[in-house]
Symmetry: C2
Subunit: 336 residues, 2 copies
């Protein structure tokens, strides 16, 4: 994997997060399923926001978070996703471009507002999300620059991208172009409910179109409709080159032709907000992968990036992640 | 001070902060005076924002922060300030209303956008601010509900409100109505540069129109154009009922008819971002004041609120400030 202008290009919903701290009683009152990402329209989002506490706003989006974290580590990245030319759209573009990420998807000049996600964080650090897809639904194949896809070692796609109707075509176009150029394709399953909504499509994609699959325990079990993690591991074998399966405090399991390898979790001092843990894991993993690290090292890097992100509010690290990664990789070896 | 619907009503610029971490080299490149608040137009603000790193957005404004912190402590508060009916305006209104603050200033339906402040935080926890006043400049006397002023024990005004031309009249109207109703008026000097811009007006106001004055060392010295804090303390004597003068890690000094009392600073574990320290001090102080605490207790409460705010990013505490205040007041006594 040499002569690449980009390490990874991500394609996903371009979202601004609205983060607020709340409690279980509020989730109950609003009839929200804790831990889930629910798609809502603008009115439904406003109804809950009006009753929620003070919030902070920051750029989000699953694949966009992964790309932002990778850029923070020093990787060369690009991103494609649709915002509208409005206040949130300008925030999204500023934040990702200011990290050195190539992002030039033309913003929509009319139609729905830039997507936002109301993230309700409970004291147990769980996040419950209400997503208004807004302008994201207008991402079309023409928005994906195939020259960028061909120039990237890995094209990374979030499962959530399967929700907006038009974006599916963009998703397929990108994946085909990447593979035709001899590049690799990576998919994150995003969320067990997202898997439920698109199971057949995801199974089809993983069968021969995806090289590196990311999923957590709940997502991979939902994909294969089994209630046991080990059964899911058996099912995924042979369907993609690498499956990196995350298990929170139990670490992660990497399934490949070389076998099944379990890697312990990175130490975490304090869990504040689990928003973006999976996104950060994928970032650390792909950072190692595009630098030809072995799969266990990739999994360690993923775990360290996730540990940094869950120790703070929000999905993109405020800390110097590059320094944290170097330090923790050293300590990791020392602890073994 | 009984039979009051509100403890404090604040009047100030209604601003959304755009917070980003930066370094001294960036401030130098942009020709920015470190630690100062500079008024800029939309184009100047955009020029610096475009070159700055990723940011988070949250409600700000000096008096608005004070009111938000007081509301978090359990005080009954109101706020008046002008936003536009746009994305940032809706964020501002949501955040302050969701704290239980009475805020019903009608948003502007056209004209400049909601005010924003680009807050550049350096590793030494100093903040350098670029403020675009936007819709704030349209706060007019008619926007101040005199029934609310009359119903509040204290009307709190930020010095920054003297910058937008029309707001001065609103400022004077509110102060006169408060005093006519037998209520008290409090003024924060906001910033030494703000004092330089409006020295004569502030000196005139303090002479007989202000009961409780808040200023830090630099501001009170700028007001009296002296280069020694003790000289400034001598100058302020007799001009207002109470002057609460903050001195960062040296604590605060309260000047009143009872004399001059120095109160040590509250312990701080880690200074991350000094944005809002003065606003939080005023909140803690006025919380005690409107509960008839003695002035030394008010100063302790101010110091504790400030210590909480500087240990995090942003000007409004993410923590349960009420619990922190109770705990730290107990520890304070134990430590003496």
């Amino acid at each position: 994997m040499t002569n690449s202008r980009f390490d990874v290009v991500g394609i996903g919903n371009a979202i601004v997060d609205v983060l607020t701290q709340t409690d279980d009683a509020f989730l109950d009152q609003q009839g929200l399923a804790k831990g889930a990402m629910t798609l809502v329209d603008e009115a439904q989002a406003a109804k809950v926001y009006d009753k929620a506490g003070p919030a902070i706003e920051c750029s989000g989006g699953s694949a966009a978070n992964t790309i932002a974290v990778m850029a923070g580590l020093g990787a060369k990245c690009a991103f494609a996703g649709k915002v509208r030319n409005d206040a949130f759209g300008r925030i999204f573009a500023h934040d990702i471009q200011s990290l050195g990420v190539h992002f030039d998807t033309a913003p929509a000049e009319d139609g729905p507002a830039t997507a936002n996600c109301l993230v309700l964080v409970t004291p147990d650090a769980q996040r419950t999300m209400l997503t208004y897809l807004g302008a994201s639904i207008h991402l079309k194949p023409a928005d994906v620059d195939l020259e960028v896809i061909k120039a990237a070692k890995v094209t990374y796609l979030e499962g959530y991208l399967w929700d907006p109707e038009d974006a599916k075509a963009a998703f397929r176009t990108a994946a085909q172009a990447a593979r035709a150029a001899g590049r690799e394709v990576s998919l994150s399953l995003s969320d067990p409910f997202c898997v439920d909504r698109h199971r057949a499509d995801f199974l089809d994609l993983i069968e021969g179109h995806v090289d590196i699959l990311f999923a957590n325990e709940a997502e991979i079990m939902a994909l294969y409709q089994v209630d046991d993690f080990d059964a899911a591991v058996e099912k995924v074998k042979g369907h993609c080159k690498v499956a990196a399966l995350t298990r929170s405090e139990k670490g992660s399991v990497v399934v490949s032709a070389a076998g099944v390898e379990a890697v312990k979790a990175a130490p975490v001092t304090q869990v504040i907000d689990t928003t973006g843990a999976g996104d950060a894991y994928a970032a650390g993993f792909l950072y190692g992968y595009t630098r030809d690290e072995d799969l266990a090292a990739c999994a360690r890097m993923g775990g360290i990036a996730a540990a940094e992100v869950i120790a703070q509010i929000g999905a993109r690290p405020e800390t110097d992640l590059k320094a944290a990664l170097a330090l923790k990789l050293r300590n990791w070896d020392a602890a073994d």
